[in-house]
Every structure is written in C-alpha cells, then in structure tokens.
C-alpha cells in the first residue's frame, strides 16, 4: 500500500468541491499514484492530450462524461493529432460513423478548454516548457522530446490520465519527474561510426530505431559521439524512432541535450550499467529493418512529416523539390496547422502544391485512412511511420532519407543512394 499524502486542496477536489469532472480525474490520479508508489502529487504547468485520437466508444464515453460534468482544464493544454483533418476534410476515407465519432471526441476536448492545436509536435509551438518544468505530456514522441530535448519533466502519460492531469493540474510525483530516474544508465558509443554518416540527417531516425530496440523498461540511453549541437529536427527523429521500437521516454545526447553537457553529467556521475559500441553494420541492419519489403522499385506514394514537419524541414523540402512529383505518385506531408499557416505566410504553400505535394494537418497518414489504395511501396524518412504503418494501414514501406524520398517522388520509382552506408 502506498504512503500517498494528499494536500487539503487535493482532498477538496477528490470530494467534489471543484465539480464532478475534477473529482473523477482526481480519483483516477490517486489510484494511479498508488500504482507508481508516489508519496504526493505535484503541480504541472501544462498538459498535452493524446486521448483526442479516436480508438473506440470507450474513449468517447470518457471524454463526453468529463465534458458533460463541466470539466475545464486548469493549465494550458494542447491537443495531439486527431483522426480527422479539419482543414482538408475530403482527405478522410473512413466511414461516416467513425468520422462522426472522431469529430465528437475532438469537440469534447475543445469544450473542456484545450487548444485546438492538433499536432504531435507541440514543441514546435511558440509556448513550450522550459528546462526543469513539470508538465503532463502524452504521446510517445512528444514525451521523449519534452524530457530529452527541452529538459522538461513528464512521465509516460497516455490516454485518460492526460486529461485527468489537465483538469486538476496535478500528477503523481513519480517516474521521470524525479531526479533519480533521469540519470543515464546505458551508453551507446558512436566513436566507431564514420563522420560522413554522423553528419547525415538519415542517421538520426535509424539510430533512434536501434536505440529503442536495444533498451528495455526503464533504462535511460546516453548517446555519445554525435556531433555536438544536433538540431531539434534531428533529435525529434531520433526520439520518435526510439519511442516506437522501444519504450524510450528520455535519452541524453552528449553535447546536444540540456542534461548532458558531457558524459559524466549524463550519467549523474555514475558508471554506465552497460556499453553498446555502435558499428556501421549495426546501423545498416537497423536501416534495413525499417523497410517492410526487400528490393523494389515500384512506388505508390511518399509520406513525410512524422512527427509533424517543422518549418525548417519545409525549407529543406523546398530546396530538394527541384521538379514536379511524378504522375500517379502522391507526396504526403503531415504537419501542424500552425506550421502550415507559417508555410502559407512565407508564400511557400502555392509552390509546394504546384509541385504536387499534398498537405495533411490535424492528423497523420499512418493513423487514419487517407492514403489511396494503390500498388507499390510507400516511402518515408520516418522510423516511426515505418514502424507502425504496415500494421496500421496495411502498406509496404521503404525507408530512406528525405532526399531519397523526394527524389523518388520526382522520378516515380524508389531511388536510394547507398554511398553513405559504405
């Protein structure tokens, strides 16, 4: 049994003083605090909700019950992707019934005061948590980015508990909120990897996939040997890959992430429990695992922007897209509606669409029926998309760099450049 101690405020909320919705949320938080062994609840300054993606009536029943009971979030709260693109509604190919349910779910969360951000990359929004700030973020890539790249503190929150935290502003003091659980434990040593590969964008999702597959449970990976000052987009790709093939919710990249100025700091002064020396062969194997089929040239579509494409990635796409997308090929770009507005403001959207790129916002192409069924593989530069899409939407995937994806879209066939991989 837990030794959880509640404040007078917590107890008042539990007793219903702030309404039925907050009382139910507090009841669930208290029970989950017992599971994690927390001794108290702590304040969070914000929340990011993943429960707004439709998985069935139970999720809808829960949200509508909270909303009907007058639930209002008490901290700034952003919303993850949903099942629908509200700006391009015609893209949705699912049933009318699912569409109606998905829309009701979205409406319930907005009714509770959450911001209609509909992005899996809340870290690309203007306001984001600072180093050491406690938040309640759900969705695995958002969690690993918040912890690793921002140095904010969130545990692995998911469906249901995310909104409970937002309605109460409280979470159990457990997991990655605690210093002791944030120290690195496993060393991934990249000194054996050639510099040309270390400098390549494609290394990051592949390395993430490798790290996720090689760590278990609560291990915290420390990656040493990457060029210092890696960009947020590269760290995003690494984290998303590691949180897909594994349960990584925090990594330290020495010289790039805020809790790892050097190796000793990343490990909190302790020795690694084990060291994994990463070789080019390991990375090649990880890259090959990300393609669900062997050698193929037949291409049906290209999907980029998982997690959501950033403004810098759009700039890179524009520089690579030096010709129109081949007839019959779709080039899908998933992004947040705020980033899309910036793309439009900069005058880039018309050029991108004229070249054949198709924008998807508010959702993502691997979680909802958008892609048109057609022969040929789908190419992606995302380890996360490559990991989930074959099971979720029944497509064959070929993994490649952004450059390989864009050139393939232009040529209308799978194009890969193996030079990097020796």
């Amino acid at each position: 049994m837990t030794d959880l101690v509640l404040t007078a405020d917590d107890q008042a909320m539990l007793a219903g003083d702030r309404g039925e919705a907050a009382a139910l949320a507090m009841k669930i938080l208290v029970e989950m605090a017992g599971i994690s062994g927390a001794q108290r609840l702590i304040d969070v300054t914000g929340a990011h909700i993943d429960s707004c993606l439709f998985h069935g009536i139970a999720g809808l029943d829960f949200a509508e019950r909270l909303a009907a009971a007058g639930g209002r979030v008490v901290v700034p709260t952003t919303l993850n992707v949903s099942s629908l693109d509200l700006i391009h509604p015609d893209l949705y190919r699912g049933s009318d019934e699912d569409r109606a349910h998905a829309r009701r779910l979205m409406d319930a969360y907005v009714a509770m005061g959450c911001r209609a951000t509909w992005t899996c990359a809340p870290y690309q929004l203007r306001e984001r948590p600072a180093l050491g700030e406690h938040v309640a973020w759900a969705e695995s890539n958002a969690i690993v980015f918040a912890n690793s790249v921002l140095g904010a503190r969130t545990d692995r929150y998911g469906d249901f508990i995310d909104i409970c935290a937002a309605l109460t502003g409280r979470v159990p003091e457990a997991g990655l909120h605690l210093d002791a659980n944030r120290r690195g434990t496993v060393l991934f040593d990249l000194t054996g990897v050639p510099g040309v590969l270390l400098d390549a964008e494609v290394l990051y999702p592949v390395l993430g996939h490798l790290v996720g597959g090689a760590t278990t449970g609560t291990e915290i990976p420390v990656i040493d040997g990457l060029p210092h000052g890696a960009s947020e987009d590269r760290l995003k790709a690494l984290g998303a890959g590691a949180a897909s093939s594994g349960a990584v919710a925090l990594f330290h990249a020495v010289g790039s992430t805020p809790e790892a100025p050097d190796r000793a700091a990343a490990f909190g002064g302790r020795e690694p429990s084990r060291t994994i020396s990463v070789t080019v062969e390991d990375l090649k194997r990880a890259r090959d695992q990300l393609s669900s089929i062997g050698v193929t040239e037949e291409l049906g579509a290209v999907s980029i922007g998982t997690p959501h494409f950033s403004i810098d990635e759009f700039a890179e796409l524009i520089s690579l897209l030096d010709g129109p997308v081949a007839p019959g090929i779709d080039l899908w770009v998933s992004t947040g509606r705020d980033v899309l507005a910036e793309v439009e403001r900069r005058g880039w959207l018309a050029d991108l669409e004229a070249a054949g790129a198709r924008m998807v916002v508010d959702t993502c192409t691997y979680i909802t029926p958008i892609l048109e069924p057609k022969p040929g593989a789908v190419m992606t530069n995302s380890a996360k998309w490559a990991w989930y899409a074959p099971g979720n939407i029944g497509v064959d995937v070929v993994f490649g760099s952004l450059e390989e994806c864009v050139r393939s879209a232009i040529e209308g066939r799978v194009w890969r450049d193996d030079a990097l991989w020796g």
Binding site: S36, A58, F62, G246
Partner: protein, 165 residues
C-alpha cells in the same frame, strides 16, 4: 493449487474465472489486439490469431503504446476483453484501461503483477480463478475460491491506503 502470495501485487480489484492463455511475448493492445474480435492481430507476435476474450491473460507486460488504455477499455465495453490480466511487471497503461472501464461501465477486470514463481506456475489451457482485493492476489486452478465472490462485491470499496493530512 492455490497461491496466495503476499509478494504478488494486486493492481486492480476484481474476480474472474477463465481459461489461462500465457503469451510468449509482451502485447500492445493498441495495434496488437482487435477489440471487435478479441483476437491478437500483431503479425509479429508469436500468438498471432489467439482469441483473448474472457481468458485469464498472462503476459510479460503490455509493451509500449499509451493508446493501449483506450483499446483495453473499449474491449471491456464490448465484452471482448480478457477476464483477468496477470503481468510479469507493473504496467500502468493496462491498469488505467481497467480502471476507466470500471468507472464508465462498472466492469471489474482483475489486474495483477506476479512474482516469477507465480507467473511460471500458470499454464495455457488450464482453468483458473483469480481474485484481486486490497492489493492481494489469489489464484486457484481447480476450484472456486472461498469465501464466495459476493462477499468481495459487498465489500467492493477498497481501502485506498490514503493518509489524510
């Protein structure tokens, strides 16, 4: 056999009887289990195609996705979920699915984390009864547990273990 080990950890209260299905690998309910059919749909899982409805599900952990809470709650709503879930380690995502389904629909699916000895004593195909109450776990493989289950229901409110300040 009846085990009543204080070291097994009850995570969500309830009582259930069913056929034991021991999974050889962790299963993510999201993406790995279809709440409409009750079948394991993860093509990489060694027990792909297994029907988990009303079973005593024994598995190492829930592996990964936090959306699994929603999928489990949905399966409980539809009546396709396991009758009980016994884990090799604590998995809050599984507990949360059971907890929310209880709050929404009043269905109590026992969930527990077992010590290795208890875990290994369970074999696919046998019938077992599981009772989780006030953090303790009882498992019987050949007879209904006593006292009868109505006593558990009558005492349905668990001690929440809180010290008020």
């Amino acid at each position: 056999m009846t085990t009543r080990s204080g070291a097994d950890r009850g995570l969500h209260p309830g009582e259930a009887t069913g056929e034991v299905v021991v999974l050889d690998a962790p299963l993510s309910f999201w993406g790995g289990f279809d709440p409409r059919s009750g079948l394991v749909i993860d093509g990489h899982h060694p027990q792909h195609g297994a029907n988990l409805t009303e079973t005593i599900l024994v598995m190492p952990s829930g592996r990964g996705s936090s959306s699994s809470s929603s999928v489990l709650a949905e399966a409980i709503r539809l009546g396709t979920a396991p009758a009980a879930i016994l884990l090799g380690e604590v998995d809050p995502i599984v507990v949360l699915g059971a907890l929310v389904a209880r709050e929404l629909y009043g269905t109590r699916i026992p969930v527990a984390a077992l010590m290795p000895e208890t875990y290994r004593s369970l074999t696919s195909g046998e019938t077992a009864t599981v009772r989780v109450s006030e953090g303790t776990v009882e498992i019987a493989d050949d007879f209904r547990l006593t006292p009868p289950s109505d006593q558990i229901v009558a005492n349905g409110k668990e001690d929440d273990g809180l010290r008020r300040q």
